[in-house]
């Protein structure tokens, strides 16, 4: 293990280097660019033995990744925002083909208006595309997930592509100290990719076929079950990760001070850390504040959400996206998970950080204060532009 002072993008690139993908196909877009630049440097310097393919678009990046995965090798790509939407056709394609591709997405605003800064509108718009969706909180977790994602995605019970989301700029471009594992450690944790779902010259296969009304549901159901199986695969994988690397992760969600919390912010991504700091401060004043961080949006952690919020009095879902005409995507999912769960909390939605707008300590403090009044509305932070 070595120490490094790196950005989130660079930390992720280190994790990918250690995971040894045979093929990397990617197209540049801010704020993802650094991860692919670092990977191409690693290939150029012989640190990573991989075929780096200069595709001419994100659609081709994912189509190429699907082809390489169908050929039976480990593959990586990365994108963001407009690029994620440009490849959108290929996302359910990869998932339906059960190709365990890992993709880093630098969470960024979606045009119009044009904006290169971070929010979660891009990935949350693709929540039903069949990809596992993970939201990282810091550079170390990003690096660790670059490695762990392959273990989970490639597990034969899962065989599902895996999207690791890093908040654009806030995480992709912030420098932090990280532990970079040794190659031998990673090799002992992550075996080479092996699958029967591949092109075979001895026993040829027909892949990516059509399935009409009579059979279609069978494929879709098995895709759904595969994704759900990730819930059972994550805990033992994290246990093993702990044994080898000494870092413990908390499964589908992470709770902070939830044992007796009455006022809870539910959120995801790197703003979670700030929310936890605010909750710590409020505890000093005797306010029973807590934070529930959603690590996996897919498969959705409904049971974990239900038990974490069972005794909460007021909950705010804080997220950086809006499903126009309704509410934040995460809010809708949390609310539906709570229906019939016995939780009698009031629940509101605060949409914040759109287009990279800063979410401050005071913004979060204000949310906790508001929660005393048990609000149930959907509101925007910064909506009355000053």
């Amino acid at each position: 293990m070595t120490k490094a002072f790196v950005s989130g993008n660079e930390a992720f690139a280190q994790g990918i280097r250690l995971a040894r993908p045979a093929v990397v196909s990617a197209y540049p877009i801010t704020p993802q660019t650094v991860v692919v630049e670092r990977l191409s440097e690693m290939v150029a310097d012989g640190e990573l033995d991989s075929n780096f393919i200069h595709v001419e678009s994100e659609h081709s990046a994912m189509s190429c990744a699907i082809g390489a995965s169908a050929a039976g090798v480990r593959v990586f790509t990365a994108t963001s925002s407009q690029g994620l939407l440009y490849m959108a056709e290929c996302l359910p394609y990869a998932a339906g083909g059960r190709f365990p591709i890992v993709m880093m997405n630098a969470d960024r605003s979606v045009a119009l208006p044009w904006n290169i800064y971070g929010d979660q509108s891009d990935s949350l718009s693709q929540i039903s595309s069949g990809w596992i969706q993970f939201y990282a909180m810091n550079a170390q977790e990003a690096l660790d997930m670059a490695i762990m994602s392959y273990r989970i995605a490639e597990d034969h019970r899962v065989s599902t592509p895996f999207m690791v989301n890093l908040d654009g700029f806030n995480l992709t471009h912030t420098y932090e100290n990280v532990d970079v594992p040794d190659q031998e450690q990673v090799d002992s944790f992550l075996p080479p990719y092996s699958t029967t779902n591949k092109i075979d010259l001895e026993k040829p296969v027909n892949m990516g076929f059509t399935a009409g009304p009579a059979y279609n549901v069978l494929f879709k159901m098995s895709e759904h079950m595969g994704m759900l199986n990730a819930r059972d695969v994550v805990p033992p994988v994290e246990d093993e990760f702990m044994r080898i690397f000494g870092r413990r992760y908390s499964g589908m969600v992470e709770g902070h001070l939830l044992e007796d919390a009455e006022l809870v912010i539910v959120t995801l991504g790197c703003v979670s850390g700030l929310c936890m700091d605010v909750a710590d401060r409020l505890r000093e004043d005797g306010v029973k504040a807590g934070v529930l961080r959603i690590r996996y949006m897919r498969p959705f952690p409904d049971r974990e959400v239900q038990s974490a919020l069972l005794n909460a009095k007021a909950v705010c879902v804080l997220e950086k996206d809006v499903s126009f005409g309704n509410a934040g995507v995460v809010f809708s999912e949390i609310k539906s998970a709570l229906y019939g769960s016995g939780c009698s909390c009031a629940i509101c939605n605060r949409i914040a950080g759109l287009g990279g707008r800063d979410i401050s300590f005071d913004d979060i403090l204000a949310i906790f204060e508001e929660l005393e009044n048990r609000p149930t509305d959907v509101g925007f932070i910064g909506g009355s532009a000053s």
Partner: protein, 293 residues
């Protein structure tokens, strides 16, 4: 070079039991190319007639490895497969794509351009039936002048497609590709020779094969090969190669006056006036750089 011919070609079949219409030129183009390439061909087919008729679970019709790509993603998926198989340490295989005219000259052109630019070691075959057939005969950029399609109908004001067929061979050649050729399923020896030749060249290879569609063209199902020959004989379609930076014509016009007969045997051209036909003759002459008697 001499390629395989009707006597020497393998009796093995790699594309059979599919649901293509009787007399489908595209199905013949796929079947014959796979016979030339053999069992280690890894075929990529985008959305289009050939994937629609060949991959209906559980009726899967390829004896070799085959996969459907997204409509725009033939070339990019081929790139990924090629890279993946190479990474597995394999070498005895040929990655081949079979995409329609729409899948190649329209929606898939960007990915094809990227693939040629990288010079990935694959063979891209465009089977050209001159329209979007799988969705019901809509115009593509390879639909010829005058043809009526469901989106360029023969109306009283506009009589069918008003644009000329795109020159795909020159577009592809402009990339500096190692090998590109046009072919016709009417001249199978020539087509087989070109597929064989492509399989022996490193880098990206492109073959554009004319493949009549009796359903979309409104022609008799037993006329497919005849029409594919006639298009070449009249000079409406040229058999050519691009290699080492140079174009070479493989066959001269043998039936300069056959254009009217060619057009009149297809419903898609039934509405054409004498003036339209003269225009088609003139553009043929302009393409060949001379006026024919």
């Amino acid at each position: 070079m001499s390629g395989p011919n009707a006597r020497t070609i393998t009796g093995d079949e790699y594309f059979y039991g599919h649901k293509a219409c009787a007399g489908c030129g595209g199905a013949l183009a796929v079947r014959i190319a796979l016979k030339v390439l053999g069992k280690n061909a890894v075929a990529v087919l985008p959305a289009g007639c050939m994937s629609a008729v060949g991959f209906n679970f559980p009726n899967l019709c390829f004896a070799n490895n085959a996969i459907i790509s997204t409509f725009a993603g033939t070339a990019s998926m081929m790139t990924g497969i090629e890279a993946g198989l190479k990474a597995r340490g394999l070498s005895d295989y040929t990655v081949v794509g079979f995409a329609g005219d729409g899948g190649t000259a329209d929606i898939g052109l960007q990915a094809l351009s990227g693939c040629i630019d990288r010079n990935d070691d694959v063979i891209y075959i465009c089977y050209d039936n001159e329209a979007y057939m799988n969705t019901g005969t809509q115009k593509s950029s390879l639909t010829p002048f005058g043809a009526s399609t469901t989106t360029t109908p023969a109306g009283s004001v506009v009589r069918g497609n008003i644009r000329e067929k795109k020159n795909l061979l020159e577009i592809v050649a402009a990339h500096g590709i190692p090998y590109a050729a046009t072919a016709s399923i009417g001249y199978l020896d020539d087509y087989m020779m070109k597929v064989k030749k492509a399989s022996l060249i490193k880098g990206t290879k492109f073959i554009h094969v004319l493949a009549p569609c009796p359903t979309g063209w409104g022609a008799q199902t037993d006329m497919t090969v005849e029409l594919a020959k006639k298009a070449v004989d009249t000079g409406l379609w040229r058999l050519a190669e691009y290699e080492n930076g140079e174009f070479r014509l493989n066959r001269d016009i043998t039936d300069p006056d056959g254009i009217r007969g060619y057009l009149r045997s297809q419903k898609r051209f039934a509405h054409l006036t004498d003036e339209d036909i003269s225009h088609i003759v003139e553009s043929r002459d302009a393409r060949w750089g001379r006026s024919l008697p």
